[in-house]
């Protein structure tokens, strides 16, 4: 693998926001997830659960409920009292409408996706019609006191069940009348606390399922108003509930971090009598499980510990594959860190501010595995706070370290940073050209002379940065065929000749910067691109896809390289393909052109193209084993993938120069200490 001096950076204080709600879209095989800071993420389950799209949050726009309606339109509603529709191509809010009933606690779309019902603070349930280009208020249903915390449509769209504090109501959609009002704590003796119905589901059989703060999951016959079954699953509150499409399985999430599955099972073999039985408990979260979803093959849960957990149901999965393994996601599938290689600076992107750090340094050298004493400590140079409620979409620092750029939903900022001895002065560049915002990705050229701004509709703006500190719009690249999707990844060649851009439709366009024209399109591959980079010497474009495939495309020759064809022919190692997280960054070794540096959250890989590829019988992670072998045997065992798992979870890795690496870690324990304490639970034996 070679020996490197590694900067092990642990001062990136990222705390991912907790998961607030989930919305599963079975047709598109996508999951919409809203975080407590208002950010909305789309996970594509077909593309190995890749976090396909991110809409950064907004201080004034909390999201309490998400739902998919009329095809692929995503709506969100929150305590701000507005219903927002998200534009998933441009990754921003397309329209928003005030609900008119105070803070909105819940929202549900009917089965055909033509109507939205919202539950408000004032106790009203309002219906909205989904029309092209937005939504329209339709009518108010019967209003009673008490906030509506959860809503569920009957699959026939004729009734709505609404859960409130201590009661649940069933409303008729056509008449708007309350048909049934059920006290949920009627059966509890001497109630002193109020019983909050946190989540509700209306089954086609007419059964209403409620999850309440007493830790019960209860099944009600709504017409008679009677309790059919009650399952006390937890001593603490049950916060979330989701029903499978076949209505034979329910997943619930509790405030202790446990999730439970309830299944509708026949009492006897062959008999029609069925009963709900609590079957499997899962404890993957440490904090409240605020949101659950039930796909046809998996239970999905999201908690305040910022984890998204996908637990496959083994009995539903037909064949063994990528889907049968439990997946946990804590970190975003994109890069929040940029590195100024020459100046040895790191720029960290937080939701509302940026931090600029100078790496420490050492004079000493040591052996493999030795920790070197730092003679100059890493230094926090600048904290740049974004003004306004909008969160940051993207940020970048130029390789020389003298330019910092970031973008929010409506504004684009470029700063000139000067280093005078130990001091730093930062100056905003005035008169930034007006661009189509937001920018989704920013990339400086290798000589820091120009800035590339990824924008909506597949366009990339090229800004020129003349030396004294100006900024000038030079050109805008557009894909020749046009594209509705925003560009989310950029790569620029070391010689400043080529620019590669990937849009939401996963097409990779290559532009010639010298002639300022479209060069070619990389043959389309049916998976999301997670990282790409252009080799500084050979101008080969290295592409990592979310299904863990790797391609190398020669830009000058407009075709895949021989090595890439060889990889495709013999296939990648099984263990490589079954990794959890996508590759988020690609770098190159300037000393050795055959080396490619790749990393995901759990490993760092040095890919040596000159060595043979491993076959499935070989051990993929063989670095430890190789060390023990004598020199001659070791040569025979060598293969292209040299993997190091020492640094976990790894958010960023890059090569500063030929012998120096920087690794940015974010230990899970550090995040846990930032979270509020979980519910105290007595553990046996302690």
């Amino acid at each position: 693998m070679g020996e490197f001096e590694v900067h092990r950076v642990r001062f990136f204080g990222l705390v991912p926001a907790g998961v607030r709600c989930l919305a599963w879209q079975p047709r598109g095989n996508r999951l919409a997830l809203a975080r407590t800071d208002g950010a909305v993420e789309i996970y594509n389950f077909a593309a190995n659960y890749f976090m396909e799209k991110v809409i950064p949050g907004h201080d004034a726009r909390s999201v309490e409920a998400l739902c998919w309606a009329s095809g692929e339109r995503l709506f969100g509603a929150g305590l701000g009292g507005t219903i927002t529709e998200y534009d998933l191509a441009r990754l921003c809010v397309s329209s928003s409408l005030d609900g008119g009933g105070g803070p909105i606690w819940s929202m549900a779309a009917n089965s055909s996706g033509t109507q939205l019902a919202i539950g408000c603070e004032d106790g009203s349930v309002k219906l909205f019609q989904v029309i092209p280009g937005g939504i329209q208020f339709e009518r108010n249903l019967d209003r009673r006191k008490g906030r509506i915390l959860c809503l569920s449509w009957h699959p026939s769209d004729t009734h709505i069940a609404a859960g409130s504090i201590d009661i649940l109501r069933v409303l008729d959609v056509t008449s708007g009348q309350t048909l049934q009002r059920i006290m949920v704590n009627y059966h509890v003796q001497k109630v002193t606390r109020e019983c909050v119905v946190w989540s509700i589901a209306f089954l086609s059989s007419g059964t209403v399922v409620t999850a309440d703060s007493f830790g019960r999951v209860q099944f009600w016959d709504w017409e008679r108003g009677t309790l059919v079954e009650s399952h006390t699953v937890s001593t603490s509150a049950v916060l979330s509930l989701a029903v499978s499409e076949e209505e034979d399985s329910i997943v619930v999430g509790t405030s202790t971090g446990a999730t439970y599955q309830l299944q509708l099972l026949p009492v006897k073999m062959g008999s029609l009598e069925k009963r709900w039985v609590r079957t499997k408990p899962f404890q993957y979260h440490t904090h409240d499980v605020r949101a659950v979803a039930h796909s046809s093959t998996a239970l999905i849960s999201g908690g305040l510990d910022a984890q998204l957990v996908i637990r496959p149901l083994m009995e539903k999965v037909q064949k063994k594959g990528y889907d049968v393994v439990l997946r946990k996601f804590t970190f975003p599938h994109r890069r929040l860190i940029s590195c100024a290689r020459k100046a040895r600076l790191l720029l960290f992107q937080f939701s509302q501010h940026l931090e600029l750090w100078r790496l420490g340094s050492t004079d000493e050298t040591g052996k493999d595995g030795q920790v070197l004493p730092v003679c100059r400590l890493p230094e926090h140079l600048v904290q740049l706070k974004s003004k306004g409620p909008e969160h940051i979409y993207c940020s970048c620092i130029s390789p020389c370290g003298s330019w910092v750029a970031y973008s929010t939903a409506s504004r684009f900022h470029l700063y000139r940073v000067r280093y005078e001895g130990d001091g730093v002065s930062i100056k905003k560049v005035p008169k930034v050209p007006k661009l189509l915002l937001p920018a989704y990705q920013l990339q400086f050229s290798a000589d820091s002379g120009s800035l590339f701004v990824a924008s909506a509709r597949g366009s990339v703006h090229v800004l020129q940065l003349p030396e004294p500190g100006g900024c000038k719009h030079l050109h805008t690249f557009r894909p020749p065929s046009g594209s509705p999707e925003a560009v989310y990844l950029l790569a620029v060649s070391g010689d400043g000749h080529w620019l590669a851009a990937v849009g939401g439709d996963w097409a990779i366009h290559i532009y010639n910067l010298k002639c300022l024209k479209h060069h070619c399109v990389v043959p389309t591959y049916s998976c999301a691109v997670t990282a790409l980079a252009i080799h500084p010497l050979t101008n080969n474009l290295v592409i990592a896809y979310s299904d863990q495939q790797l391609f190398e495309f020669s830009i000058p020759e407009k075709q895949y390289t021989a090595w890439s064809r060889a990889v495709q022919n013999c296939g990648l190692h099984q263990a490589w393909l079954e990794r959890d997280t996508p590759i988020t960054h690609i770098a190159f070794n300037p000393k050795n052109p055959s080396h490619i540096l790749l990393h995901d959250v759990y490993m760092f890989c040095l890919l040596d193209k000159s060595l043979p590829l491993p076959d499935n019988s070989a051990l993929l992670m063989n670095q430890g084993a190789l060390k023990q072998l004598p020199e001659t045997v070791r040569r025979r065992q060598l293969h292209a993938f040299k993997i190091c798992k020492k640094f976990q979870p790894l958010l960023f890795a890059d090569m500063l120069d030929e012998s120096c690496l920087v690794m940015v870690e974010r230990p899970i324990m550090d995040i846990k200490t930032q979270l509020p304490p979980p519910i105290q639970q007595k553990k046996f034996g302690t």
Partner: protein, 835 residues
């Protein structure tokens, strides 16, 4: 044949009650019986009175399973390691049929659905430790002994434990667990599903299966696991879409599970000695019955759901109400792992006294096979944890009249042991032992032996306790008047004399019969001391052999001192001549003198078998030798005095006339020697039918009771002799007649003379006769009543095996006849003695 006339080694009482799940008789509300496999026998207890009603013997080896006959709940199937299944009429204790299967039977299951077959677990032929579940077709032959040869294998690779196989709802399926695999076989579909929990490995402990229970009405299987979890399996007719939920409370392995009759509740138990009731089989709602004393081995539920019972590791049955309240407990002999105290007979109750629960002394009644009471000696909380050094009871001794009890407890410490000598005084008022004196560190090292001076006449003043220790001394303890006015008791014990001999370790001590001499063995030497002056009188020594046991001869042989050495010699010294009288080369482990005669029993261990020698010290040749007494090593023995001398025919067994020899093997099996044949031994217990005692209180019974009371009051007026005679005369005969089931009774014309005869009282007061007449009338009434009741059951039974009953009847007839004759004979004797 020698065995017929000779002595038989009989497993006596105390055999473990936890061979198989206990079975409740069908109607617990009326007359509840609890049937339980105990060693080679099946025991029947009354649920209401906890009394042992019947002991059904006949199996030649351990009984491994008992099940009510699903088609006739008055009958019971039992299976045994001897390869037979027996069908019993447990109300009468009669074996109806014996089916010989051939191979060992390890578990038995009977199903209502299968008409004439039962299921057994047998070892697979040719393979070690492989077992299979086999369905046995029970042939419908006429004879009593039938061969069941029609076997068909149902499941392969099952576990030998009866807890690891269970039959599901209406016998639709059978589920069996072994290690980490669960297999379910559906009879109708002929489908076998296998599931494993290996893939779902937990971080803590192993998830091996330990037991299984099936829901009575639903398709639900509950399995217990070694890590304390209970899994509830559902949907298991799908190979893939099966599912299970987990209940977890036990911290160690779940020993047994049982569903309630409706299946709404689940009972589970384990080493925690807590019975857990899971309401609606859900995790959140559960109730506990804690402090059940010891680990729960089996749980069973009565068919009407009113009662459940747990069988414990320490030979106890606990009967529990349906609302999870402790109701009754039946305690057998507690088998502690190491009986350090030896077998001691309590002179007061004639009960066997030995280590019971940790730190407790159990008083075990041999007659009733029940624990009389348990005395807490150590009086400290016992912590159930492996590897802890806890105080344990090591030595006990009773004073000759049973008034004083001395106990020694010790705690094994690395450096020096912690010792305590306690003296207990029997308090007549509270009828229990009260702590009198506690002596800390009576010796510097372990106490090896302890005895009281046995002087019958002057008990209190002359009472002396001698202890010997490894610290090379023996100490003499005497009672002193307590001078401290604040002391609660008037006397206490203190050390009077310390003797030693050449700094050898003192190993045994023993008083002569009259108490004048004390023998203390110091390794290879026996020293004899005067018990008044504590002077060393003489020493005996047998070359190269440390003494293991010593004892004085008794009665005519009191001039002899017997010692057994560890290099295999038995020596007898004459105290008068101070010379070795004789010696024999025998590796004696146990030397036990009979307190009531001059006989001494010695048990040797030679070439993997124990032999018994009974001898008189004055004769060199033993009176009785029984080689190959048993295969196990015998650790302890005791002579228990009989209530009344047994009449034995031959000279050979004269030594058994006054006391009975009991011995304990190293597998904690309590055995005895008996001259009687098995049937004879069983009769007394099967004779008493406690139907009457457990009858519910009806107005009629109250009326009857009132009459009885009156009658007894009148009896007391009549004087002692009548009282003595009356119950002997009328009750057994009348009882016998009334409570023998109608279908086994001989014809009325035959019975009448005997019955009348039994009611006739030889020339007594007139009033007695009147009373007797009254009783007769009433008993006739009851007879009619019971006849009506029994007609129904009789018809049912007729349907099943009419041929069988005929044979049974004649047999029974002669027996009862015989019994009557014996009774008449007895009556004559008493009449004679009146002269």
């Amino acid at each position: 044949m020698v065995a017929a006339a000779g002595l038989r080694v009989v497993r006596c009482g105390g055999s473990s009650l936890h061979g198989a799940r206990a079975v409740f008789s069908a109607d617990c509300k009326q007359v509840g019986y609890l049937l339980c496999a105990s060693g080679d026998f099946v025991k029947m207890y009354s649920v209401a009175t906890e009394e042992t009603l019947r002991l059904m013997g006949g199996h030649g080896d351990l009984v491994t399973g008992i099940q009510l006959n699903p088609h006739n709940h008055m009958q019971l199937y039992s299976s045994s390691l001897d390869g037979t299944i027996k069908l019993w009429d447990f109300m009468d204790g009669i074996p109806i049929k014996t089916f010989t299967v051939g191979s060992k039977l390890l578990a038995l299951y009977a199903l209502a659905g299968s008409e004439d077959s039962v299921f057994v677990v047998t070892p697979k032929s040719g393979e070690q430790d492989a077992f299979q579940l086999v369905s046995v077709k029970l042939p419908k032959g006429a004879g009593q002994d039938l061969e069941a040869r029609e076997l068909s294998v149902v499941l392969d690779g099952v576990d030998a434990s009866p807890k690891s196989t269970a039959f599901g709802r209406e016998g639709e399926y059978v589920a069996s667990v072994k290690e980490v695999n669960l297999q379910v076989y559906f009879f109708k579909q002929k489908q076998l599903n296998r599931f494993a929990v290996g893939g779902m490995k937990t971080k803590s402990g192993n998830s091996h299966f330990t037991c299984i229970a099936c829901h009575p009405t639903e398709d639900c299987i509950a399995t217990g696991h070694a890590d304390g979890k209970i899994r509830l399996w559902r949907n298991f007719h799908h190979k893939k879409e099966y599912t299970f939920s987990t209940l977890h409370w036990h911290h160690d392995s779940v020993m047994d599970l049982a569903f309630s009759v409706e299946g709404s509740n689940l009972l589970s138990g384990g080493v925690e000695s807590v019975l857990v009731l899971w309401h609606n089989v859900s995790e959140r709602q559960k109730d506990f019955l804690p402090r059940l004393g010891s680990a729960i081995e089996y749980i069973s539920v009565s068919p009407d759901g009113a009662l459940s019972c747990t069988l414990h590791k320490d030979n106890r049955i606990t009967i529990i109400n349906s609302n999870l309240r402790f109701s009754k407990s039946i305690q057998g002999l507690i088998k502690s792992t190491d009986v350090k105290t030896g077998l001691v007979v309590d002179p007061r109750t004639k009960a066997l006294v030995l280590n019971g629960e940790p730190g407790h002394l159990q008083f075990y009644s041999l007659q009733s096979d029940q624990q009389l009471f348990s005395l807490d000696i150590v009086q400290r909380q016992y912590i159930h944890q492996a590897g802890l050094n806890q105080t344990d009871l090591v030595k006990i001794a009773f004073s000759p009249q049973g008034k004083w009890l001395a106990t020694v407890e010790e705690r094994e410490e690395a450096a020096d042991p912690e010792l305590q000598l306690k003296l207990w005084f029997y308090d007549e008022e509270t009828q229990s032992f009260k702590l009198n004196t506690r002596i800390n560190m009576p010796h510097e090292d372990h106490i090896t032996d302890m005895c009281f001076r046995d002087m019958d006449e002057l008990e209190d003043d002359s009472l002396v306790l001698v202890t010997t220790g490894r610290d090379c001394v023996f100490k003499v303890w005497v009672m002193v008047e307590d001078t401290d006015p604040e002391a609660q008791q008037s006397v206490s014990w203190s050390c009077d004399f310390v003797g030693s001999y050449h700094s050898y370790q003192a190993t045994n001590c023993c008083f002569s019969e009259d108490g004048s001499l004390l023998a203390v063995s110091f390794e290879e030497t026996v020293t004899v001391w005067d018990s008044v002056t504590w002077d060393l009188k003489c020493t005996f020594c047998y070359p190269t052999g440390k003494l293991r046991n010593i004892c004085f001869g008794r009665l005519t042989c009191s001039k002899y001192l017997i010692g057994a050495t560890d290099n295999g010699f038995l020596c007898c010294w004459n105290l008068l001549s101070c010379a070795l009288e004789w010696s024999a080369h025998l590796n004696i482990l146990v030397l036990q003198p009979d307190p009531l005669s001059e006989y001494i029993a010695a048990i040797s261990w030679l070439s993997k078998e124990s032999s018994l020698f009974v001898f008189k010290p004055n004769e060199q040749w033993p009176i009785y030798i029984q080689r190959n007494l048993c295969k196990e090593k015998i650790q302890l023995a005791a002579f228990v005095p009989r209530d009344e001398p047994e009449v034995t025919g031959t000279e050979k067994y004269l030594w058994l006339r006054r006391s009975q020899l009991f011995f304990l093997t190293d597998t904690q099996e309590l055995m005895t020697l008996s001259t009687k044949s098995l049937e004879e031994r069983l009769t007394p217990s099967s004779k008493q039918l406690a139907v009457e005692e457990s009858l519910p209180v009806t107005p009629f019974s109250l009326l009857l009771g009132k009459h009885r009371q009156q009658q007894s009051r009148e009896d007391t007026d009549l004087g002692k002799r009548v009282v003595g005679n009356k119950p002997e005369q009328d009750s057994p005969a009348v009882k016998e007649l009334l409570h023998t089931p109608a279908h086994v009774l001989p014809s009325a014309s035959f019975l009448c003379p005997i019955f009348i005869n039994s009611l006739l009282i030889s020339k007594e007061n007139k009033s007695v006769e009147e009373v007797a007449d009254e009783v007769e009338m009433q008993s006739e009434n009851t007879e009619e009543d019971s006849d009506e009741e029994r007609d129904v059951t009789e018809m049912e039974q007729d349907g099943t095996n009419p041929m069988e009953l005929l044979g049974e009847m004649t047999c029974k007839l002669s027996k009862s006849q015989e019994r009557e004759l014996r009774k008449i004979r007895k009556m004559d004797y008493s009449w004679l003695s009146a002269f």
